[in-house]
Amino acid sequence: MKLSDVQADAIQELGNIGAAHAATTLSVMLGSTIEMRVPAIKVVDLSQLGEYMGEESAAMVAFELQGEIPHGGYILFYITRESAVRLTNTMLGLTQIDRPLDEMDESALIEVGNIMVSAFLDATAELLGLVMLPSPPALTIDMAHAAMQSLIAQLQEETNEVLLFSTELVCEEHRIDSDIIMMPETSTLMRIVELLENMVKV
């Protein structure tokens, strides 16, 4: 799996647009400014996944990409455990940092993930003219590598490399650091690249 510079730029632009919409919704939910980092695109060999996702405890709300393409891959809202507590504290009006995450936190995280990923996919659908809908959400709060590995094992198309396309969203005021990570199936990625290239030609 190799992307040309032009293709990588195009996907980065797609990420910019998607993440900007997601950042706006998060900003409204928290009543605070959200900064967006430059989207990162990485082609990762499976054996090297540990270089990007480690043992750190994180909350991940995962969605399968559905819609026009029935099994398009996965998209997830990723937030470290510490940031997850600060996020739900801000939403629920709590202050204690050193506490376990309960059902209320889990509901809040799923809701935030749902809203942000929906905003991301709405924006990319409008740009691409390709409707990708999120499946119902699935939450895990555990080792990041274990969760990501499980999603990779579920991909429909057999592959030794995955494309991880992530955009970091940061709220300085509440010290919340989160990511939206998209991991398309190879055929979905090619379809997206093709649509973006056609757009540039016109």
């Binding site: 990162a40 990485k42 499976l46 054996s47 090297q48 996944l49 540990g50 270089e51 990007y52 996702m53 480690g54 043992e55 750190e56 405890s57 995962a62 399968e64 990723y78 499946s135 119902p136 959400p137 699935a138 939450l139 895990t140 709060i141 555990d142 080792m143 990041a144 590598h145 274990a146 969760a147 990501m148 590995q149 499980s150 999603l151 990779i152 094992a153 579920q154 057999e158 030794n160 991880l164 992530s166 970091e168 990511d179 990570i181």
Partner: protein, 164 residues
């Protein structure tokens, strides 16, 4: 997403997805979800092997034998036997095979299929399965110490740990 990972154990070899290693030095796999960390150990030769299996069936693929149970298990047994190990003295331990996302897991449960496949293959090869820590919905990291009588140490995200 953090990059690069801050975790790095200088003395232990990292066994990534689909990788395997034979030897007597420490080996580590981090963050097993539905994957299986399989260790084989021969107490007579104090030699071990570790493999990080992702899927049960290779479907005829041969490029990464460590990735699939049906190619990984015979391969590492063969390599240990080639080094002088006897099937009847090899002791196996397995960890992982979890279902991290319950919603997606219901139809597929790759973790359970991985564990079932590995158990069947070990039985077919007459390898004793001494211990296992599989299933549930938790991630596990595994440290394998062949030099310490084949000790297997499991760690979880909540900080708990145990020996296999």
């Amino acid at each position: 997403m953090h990059e690069p990972a801050t975790y790095r154990n200088e003395q232990a070899s990292m066994i990534g997805i689909g990788e395997y290693r034979i030897g007597s030095s420490p080996m580590v796999t981090i963050g097993l979800g539905s994957c299986i960390g399989l260790t084989l150990y021969d107490p007579n030769l104090k030699l071990g092997a570790m493999v990080h299996i992702m899927l049960p069936e290779s479907g005829g693929r041969e490029d990464r034998p460590g990735k699939y149970a049906d190619t990984a298990v015979p391969l590492i047994i063969k390599e240990l036997v080639a080094l002088g190990c006897k099937n009847r003295s090899i002791v196996a331990k397995i960890a992982g095979g979890a279902c991290m996302f319950e919603y997606f897991g219901t139809g597929l449960n790759i973790g359970k299929r991985n564990a079932d496949k590995v158990r069947i293959l070990l039985q077919e090869c007459h390898i004793q399965l001494a211990a296992e820590d599989v299933g549930g919905k938790v991630g596990r990291s595994v440290t394998f110490l062949p030099a310490d009588n084949g000790r297997v140490l499991i760690r979880r995200a909540d900080g708990s740990s145990n020996n296999l």
